[in-house]
Subunit: 152 residues, 2 copies
């Protein structure tokens, strides 16, 4: 068949995301985290006392998968869980002091990573890229799917 012609956008999208995220995850790994646990910490940072279910929705994974990752974070001493006294079904996840310190360190690295991307693109191309990505997300998103994080 010898498929020739313009390279599909999806190919470039896939390759770039892969290349960029391999570097990003290398950084996370140096802090003992992976993509999922980093997204969980971000979700914790953006909500006040979220339930595990809310965090799972924000991250885009199942409750069972979240339990798995939260256990790892807890074993690492970065988060602490307590049952909500007003509704003892609910687990309240909070960063420990150590977790807050780790978050701050990783957040610094993540911001530096973002600055590197913006610097190499320049402000106009950065804006164009973000606009294009947003257009594609709107076009292909399914209602009811949250998901910033899936298996890739």
């Amino acid at each position: 068949m010898k498929t020739r012609g313009a390279r599909p956008i999806g190919m470039s999208l896939w390759e770039t995301t892969h290349v960029v995220y391999r570097e990003f995850e290398r950084m996370l790994a140096a802090h003992g985290l992976n993509r999922a646990t980093w997204f969980i910490l971000l979700a914790l940072d953006e909500a006040v006392h979220p339930t595990q279910r809310e965090v799972a929705r924000a991250v885009g994974i199942s409750d069972a998968t979240l339990t798995h990752h939260v256990r790892n974070l807890e074993d690492a001493g970065l988060v602490h869980r307590t049952r909500d006294p007003d509704d003892r079904r609910v687990q309240c996840i909070e960063l420990t002091d150590e977790g807050r310190a780790a978050f701050a360190r990783i957040h610094d690295d993540a911001m530096a990573f973002d600055r590197r991307m913006r610097a190499v693109l320049g402000p106009e191309t950065t804006a164009a890229l973000l606009g294009a990505l947003d257009t594609l997300t709107t076009e292909f998103a399914r209602p009811g799917d949250s998901t910033p994080i899936p298996r890739a």
Copy 2:
């Protein structure tokens, strides 16, 4: 901490790639393929009688992982392997008639998918997006990594 400020580019990149690829893989699944096996068929289409090792390099997976996927493709009747008579260590992978037909069908769907992306973006934004992705890939690629396909 309440991290506020501009959304990181990586977040958008990740989310868009996820949303787009979930739809793409839904299409592939309707044809009985997944991302890895589709990339393998693409690699077969672009080279003449490649060895398995060459295909693995092109796809960006290990030899052992390739064996795994090729076995699935063979079980599905889409490819056929023969030992190279000139060097019996080498497996030559070829599409079967059924494989060629499946490839053509999926390729049509993949092109339609690409047209949909280009249509919603428009020609200028498409070009800008591809340029930005290329810039990022160049910035973050590591020499010696082939990789169009990894786990994401």
